[in-house]
């Protein structure tokens, strides 16, 4: 949500002319009507909340207890822990797989391609469940492994695109200077490729952060799990809606912060002379399946 999008840059649209005084008055009227409609909707939701007695003291009292605050913090800590492991490991796996896909040896390339395509086509949750149920792994490693396999495969493609986006002359020049294959990759191509793809890489980490919540489904004691524990407590009159109202802003806030960071990096890169020319795609949705 940039200011650019909010104020909708009137100059660059193909859809309508810059409104004149009459159109402006009309738009102002539409604006007032639609704002009233949205406010009415919000008021109705608020009424429903009060009507179903979501704001009674009993439902909000648990959040004043230290034990429960600690439980929530612990859940949040566990979420961040899973995120940290998953992002580091998927960056590493992504690097390995990208190297494989760019290899000059055909079997290596095929193997890496097969791996990447398979794990991108599978739902992450199926992988996590498979590791958790079939291989009988603990919840945290199962969650991290599932996230790593999926995000690593996606990141491999991101890295590969980044490296392919580096001007061909760079590679040729490096070879002409007598550098070896590994040197060309590590000193010339990878640094530029990663820099070009940095916003996309960060966006993919947002996906990983969002997906840590899948840990809830394999009984990993993360943030949502802590919320569920509190929500199903009869002593506090099942404070489900209050829990959702507390947890969602924190979750969404964390992801938005990371998304904004990605947008910020992208905007900075666009202004930078070194990477100006490279246009990067969104990390999610991706899934380029075989045959595409």
């Amino acid at each position: 949500m940039t200011t650019h999008a909010l104020h909708g840059d009137l100059e660059s649209t193909a859809l309508y002319d810059i409104p004149g005084p009459q159109a402006q008055r009309r738009h102002f009227l539409y604006g007032i009507l639609s704002t009233a409609l949205i406010l009415g909707l919000l008021a109705w939701i608020l009424y429903l909340l009060f009507d179903t007695r979501q704001f009674t003291a009993a439902k909000w009292s648990p959040f004043t207890y230290e034990g429960i605050q600690e439980l929530l913090l612990q859940g949040l800590g566990n979420t961040l822990k899973a995120f940290a492991y998953a992002s580091l490991l998927s960056l590493a796996l992504g690097a390995v797989l990208a190297t494989g896909r760019l290899s000059v040896h055909r079997p290596v390339r095929w193997l890496a391609t097969l791996f990447v395509e398979f794990f991108r086509a599978m739902p992450v949750l199926v992988m996590i469940f498979f590791i958790f149920v079939a291989l009988k792994v603990q919840p945290l490693p199962a969650l991290v492994a599932g996230l790593t396999l999926y995000n690593g495969s996606v990141l491999a493609e991101v890295f590969r695109t980044g490296i392919n986006s580096v001007d061909k002359g760079q590679r040729e020049a490096a070879y002409a200077l007598g550098m070896r294959k590994t040197q060309v990759m590590t000193f010339v191509l990878a640094p530029q490729g990663v820099r070009a793809m940095l916003p996309t890489i960060i966006s993919q980490l947002v996906v990983a952060l969002k997906d840590t919540s899948l840990g809830f489904l394999v009984t990993y004691e993360e943030f949502l799990h802590a919320g569920k524990l509190i929500a199903s407590n009869l002593d506090y009159d099942l404070p489900f809606i209050p829990v959702v109202m507390i947890i969602s802003p924190i979750y969404i806030g964390m992801c938005m912060l990371l998304s904004w960071f990605a947008t910020w990096v992208a905007r900075r890169e666009r202004r930078s002379l070194k990477t100006r020319a490279v246009e990067v795609a969104d990390a999610e949705p991706q899934t380029v399946l075989p045959g595409r």
Binding site: M1, G8, A14, V126, A134, F240, S248, Y251, G291
Partner: protein
């Protein structure tokens, strides 16, 4: 191997459940995504704000949290609907944010001069949009919309974990019946592959027929 042949009806039910969920949620996502994209390019400020907030919030919401809030939260609100409807609602709203972004970037790929030319020919707003801009925008958004719908099909697995009849959910029953877990999962994986590859193939055909060669 026997897992599939002996429990074909169970697998079939789960498979059809996933397909059903995917189809309904896709329709909802396409409708809402289109609406939000229209909001985001509208000349009226409040529409733009609404569309922007919708996309920003839903894109950054973990889908599990959304399912948690919708499937378990809305009933506390006094709204009781079948689980499947809730699942379609959650999946559809979530995916609509991504569809909206795909459509919006599609509209942005149409050169500004096209709209200006249409207007200078005396075309009205609806004509400009319907006859000039959208047909071109649609053609360039076929691949990203396809990927988004594939992601939707994969995300429907979460509904299964929240006890909606769905492909992944079948593992629970088969596990209790004592079948080989590995084979159970292999057939589930095959089921998802069939669905995602079908969507992929469908969009490949669409792209070949309608896509723009740039």
């Amino acid at each position: 191997m026997d897992v599939l042949t002996e429990n074909f009806s169970l697998y079939g039910k789960g498979f059809l459940g996933t397909v059903e969920l995917t189809v309904y949620a896709s329709l909802l996502a396409l409708f809402l995504g289109f609406l939000m994209a229209a909001f985001r390019v509208a000349p009226v400020g409040s529409f733009r704000v609404f569309g922007t907030v919708w996309v920003a919030v839903l894109r950054n919401t973990p889908l599990t949290l959304l399912f948690f809030a919708v499937l378990l939260g809305l009933p506390r609100f006094g709204l009781v609907l079948p689980f499947k409807v809730f699942a379609v609602l959650a999946l559809g709203c979530y995916t609509s944010a991504f569809i909206c972004e795909a459509l919006r970037s599609g509209i942005n790929t149409v050169p500004k001069g096209q709209g200006e030319a249409a207007r200078s020919l005396g075309m009205s707003f609806t004509q400009t949009l319907g006859d000039v801009v959208l047909p071109q925008a649609f053609r360039s958004v076929i691949p990203p919309v396809g990927s988004t719908l594939i992601a939707l099909a994969k995300n429907s697995a979460i509904a299964g974990a929240f006890s909606v009849t769905e492909l992944l959910g079948t593992y629970k029953t088969l596990n209790e019946l004592g079948y080989s877990i590995i084979w159970t999962f292999i057939w589930i994986a095959v089921g998802y592959l069939i669905i995602t590859l079908t969507i992929s193939a469908l969009f490949n055909v669409l792209e070949k027929r309608y896509g723009v060669a740039r």
